[in-house]
Amino acid sequence: MNPNISPAIILHHTDYGEADRIVTFLTPEHGRLKGFARAARKSRKRFGASLEPCAEVQLHWTARGSGNLVSLRDAELVDLHSGLRRDLETLTLAGYGCELADVLFDESGVGVEVFHLLQAFLNHLDTQGYSVEARLLLEIRMLSVAGYLPHLQHCADCSGPLPKGAVSFSAALDGSLCPDCDAGRATLKIDRMTLGTFGKIMQTPLTSFADFKLSPLSRKEGQLLLSDALRCYLHRPLRSLEFLNRFSPDETS
């Protein structure tokens, strides 16, 4: 059987038995896959550090007889992203990015965009370290690629314009709402300036992370609105999120 050879980002691994490992990884062409790496913990000859979470690798695998687990044959390290290990905030944010990709996507479609998005995110954190901006850029783009981007700059119900100042917002109701459509249903109030800022962010390339600087208000409201949107679409709470909220220097509330 010919092996598949593809660039991949390691999202997660779990130890299996004494020496084996089950690895979740993201590829441009095949989306998110899970593979079995025999003796990966014990013998360092074949895999070395290449199965560490957040590593970018060239992965070789073959399909297995049954089930959706592939067999990992070989891995060449492209970039371990060891700069992520500079501090706990950076490492936790990188892990959060990987978990987000893991839960939002699967084997089907959209692989290329998610792959390049996560790759650019990890490269950015590797050299620049933690920032709230990097987190928000990743979150809004992940939502957008997954097809879950809420309406930001016009009313989600009637497509009409939004008032100046505080705007009603609810991800469960598809996003921003004008006063008439809201009628007291939305739980969040987000300034129209913040909505405009995130609207503009959506016009920038998916892979650009450098030189974004948000105002304290946009940072705070951005976290509120994106957390609301993510809560709405994730089928399980993210384990890394609790860590992120605990260890990140910039608190929301």
């Binding site: 038995g17 290449s50 979470p53 060891s82 490492l91 959060y96 978990e99 860590f243």
Partner: protein, 199 residues
């Protein structure tokens, strides 16, 4: 077929729970035990029961021990100003084998793992901080694994311990990224302890 010999099937099922042992190996081992004299079988059963009955975790360093505190903690020749933190007892044993370290130990019983939901409260971190607050310790050598989880744990501990005015160091040279200490050779562990660096 095994169902017709329930006691044999039961042993195979128990053996197959061991790490790295599948049904085939378990069956082979069961046949081996079947052919052993009765005293041999009893000795094995006793040894397993004794391990369970007599061992516990040391109340000071959380290494496996039969006496509490353990022999390492009671050894007065060891340097009391130095504590080495490891993830698992196996890593402690790896460092002991390398004969490079003469201080005391602390076993965390795991590592922080954001993606698996393993937080500080799941590890023996609070007792470590209590130990350090009692005073006398000048250096904490962090010997967690060179994995994402081991690094996260080291960063977390450094943040927690540095304000106490204690020097925090980490194993350095020669240990490849992604490694678990248990599987690293003695000479490399020795060099890494010698060449530890400040965090």
């Amino acid at each position: 077929m095994l169902n017709s010999i329930p006691s044999f099937a039961r042993l195979v099922a128990e053996l197959a729970k061991f790490p790295g042992i599948g049904n085939k190996t378990a069956t082979r081992l069961a046949f081996f035990l079947l052919r052993q004299p009765k005293v041999q079988a009893e000795a094995l059963a006793e040894a397993i029961l004794d391990l369970q009955r007599n061992t516990r975790f040391c109340s000071v360093c959380f290494h496996i021990t039969e006496q509490d505190p353990c022999s390492l903690c009671c050894d007065t020749r060891r340097d009391e100003t130095l504590i080495c933190v490891v993830e698992e007892p196996q890593a402690l044993m790896a460092i002991e084998r390398s004969r490079s370290f003469k201080g005391h130990y602390h076993v965390l019983h795991g590592a922080l793992s954001p993606l698996d939901g393993v937080g500080p409260e799941d590890l023996k971190i609070t007792p470590l901080i209590k130990r350090l607050e009692q005073g006398g310790v000048q250096e904490l050598l962090i010997a967690t694994n060179f994995t994402v989880e081991g690094d996260a744990t080291a960063l977390y501990l450094a943040k927690l311990v540095q304000p106490l005015g204690i020097r925090v160091t980490r194993l350095a040279y020669g240990i490849p990224m992604g490694s678990e200490l248990e599987y690293v050779d003695e000479a490399t562990v020795n060099r890494a302890v010698e060449g530890r660096r400040d965090i």
